[in-house]
Symmetry: none
Subunit: 425 residues, 2 copies
Amino acid sequence: MHTELVCVGTELLTGHLNTDSAFIGQKLPDIGIRLDLETTVADKKNDIEKIFQEVLRRSDLIFVTGGLGPTFDDLTREVLAKVLKKKLVFNKEVMETIAYRFAKRDIKMPKENDRQAYIIEGAKVIPNKSGTAPGMIIDLKVNPVKSQKSPVVIILLPGPPKEMQPMIRDIVLPYLKNKFERKIIKTHLIHVCGLTESEVDQKIKNIVETERRLEAGELTFALLAHPSVIDIKITASGTDEMVIDGLIKKAAGEIKDCLKDDVFAENNQTLQTTVGYLLGKKRKTLSIAESCTGGLLGNVITSSPGSSLYFKGGVIAYSNQVKTDILKIPEEILDEHGAVSKEVALTMAQAIKGLYQTDFALGITGIAGPGGGTDNKPVGLVYIALVSKGNQVTKECKFIGSRQEIKFASVIAALDLLRRMLLKN
Amino acid sequence: MHTELVCVGTELLTGHLNTDSAFIGQKLPDIGIRLDLETTVADKKNDIEKIFQEVLRRSDLIFVTGGLGPTFDDLTREVLAKVLKKKLVFNKEVMETIAYRFAKRDIKMPKENDRQAYIIEGAKVIPNKSGTAPGMIIDLKVNPVKSQKSPVVIILLPGPPKEMQPMIRDIVLPYLKNKFERKIIKTHLIHVCGLTESEVDQKIKNIVETERRLEAGELTFALLAHPSVIDIKITASGTDEMVIDGLIKKAAGEIKDCLKDDVFAENNQTLQTTVGYLLGKKRKTLSIAESCTGGLLGNVITSSPGSSLYFKGGVIAYSNQVKTDILKIPEEILDEHGAVSKEVALTMAQAIKGLYQTDFALGITGIAGPGGGTDNKPVGLVYIALVSKGNQVTKECKFIGSRQEIKFASVIAALDLLRRMLLKN
């Protein structure tokens, strides 16, 4: 089977990152399909038509993303219908769904959105839960472009990732899996914090080498480095699902035994869901006092649904006035040690713990840059404090990177400090 | 001129983001060249050969990235030489540079790296400052694949961004600029908030149509929809820079006159930098009280360097206890109207303004979901309040989307409310 992706959008040829291509390329192997070719074409009628002709000539499974919007430069639907020699037919149900989306937000639907209710004749509609343009599955017994009779499947998807991704996950992958029964491929992610990529590599090297030699199925490993976090990706493939599950379980178990507490989560779990789980299990509460992170720590904690069960809130103490007036940090401490110091981080954590009456409290103060650094206290210097009943700990961190990267690294370090304390007590 | 990019690498079809394509697409317009098409192909000899044949048939300028490494799956050099009917010739100078890189790191050079010293006959070598594989410029008077006599330029580059990017910047762009004295292309972005994509389309339709007819240079428009924000991208091309600047200025002016206060920024500016600029200009300060956004508003505000000049901080009042204890919201108001109400949003804003002694204060309360919604107060219902000396305003919003999307939409709406008030007073 020859599988291709066509991405339509001038913006992808003028500097925008193509995340659709990465997402589809990553997901297809889950159902044993590999992407053979990807083409990006501008929003120009003739160019799109030529590419569709070519792609239909050489492929059996074709993904198309982008160009399904309501406006003048969205051409995919019309051009594909033309190349396939199919009509566009008005779909009342789709129209009603689009109208409902506007009604729910009390907005009058513009006339332009009518276009999105036209479906290529014979296509199966993929509902759009996060936008207006529906996707389509066009499953043809006869490819209208090829000379010899052969089938072709065309999957038409909107370009915005939040609209496209759920369609792939919920509708397209199950549809294709059912249609093309193929080798099973499963992946498993182990998330690690507090080690560099090379340290993880060094530590698990022996496991990775042993496992690779197994013959019951194919097993491969990859290290993926993200800001402050390393992922170990285990991929197993074969024909027997139980064998594959067994291979993954064994390999994951050995890696976790080796890396111990440096593993903070697996698969879809995150550092904040792990921390939330541990706090919830122990029925403990948390409050935070943030300076340089400016609200990011709170935002990350509250990205987990249900975080209101353990997170009471915080104070963003961006100015020194807030540090003294609200958190009651003595001016002497600020004068003697400076706002960026372990003493101030600790006093911030103690103060918020008292004010919000929580079991745990985190304090963060630092220099996110790009300005504000000195020789003694350079950009990237961050102090984190964690206090609980009878326990207090501070940590000095030296991060490098942009303002946003330093804020993010501080948040991860703070949550990891709390996670490790929750594991101990 | 038809310009194409071919990216060689299986990893780009299995989930890796293609940053080379974004980089090249972004840089070429600086010298008046547009990327017309991008193709990604796996590390398979036959596939690469077929794509090279096709690309040579239809293009005059071809960029190729990836597949120049020392290992078995690096095939670009050999396949391209074959398609061009050229020999690979050993280049002593390149060999010495590669050997020197290894010597400098006290590493014995593996035999495999020999391959990288072979250059396609007649190619100009592009030195690699961050790796071993050199790039090449192959400038041919006669394209060996096309039937009629026509020239073609092929630019061969290594895949790793830190090797490829300096080659583009330092060697390739100056070479092409010198060779093709061409049209200048400039772009201009106008950022809009408070309207849907179709509403923007409707409003500016006449301007877009009029402008397109201009003959002094080519002018095109595109709408890019982001969460809560619409971008209008104006692209102008021609041979006279002053004419182009004039075209853009005129079109941007007309769009801004038409959309008025719905335009919140242009080019690299963001909503938070605009708000920061307006606060700074008026020497006013801001504090915030967030419930459902959990710190995201503070994080967005403090993503601008220098935000400490106008942002004093905030309170993340996630639990009702914090709302009553810290913000002193009377229990009657919470009981009568519920935590998600315009009354509570307003009291939050008033309280934080008093506590932090600022000129402006924002309060946000709502239901970010996925749980917590009722028939009366569904997920996505958010109240925003803005208070200043002698002024107060509340806004009811109904957002749809994921938890993270609702939080983000709330933050944009809050900042936009503040921006519009700052414009008036």
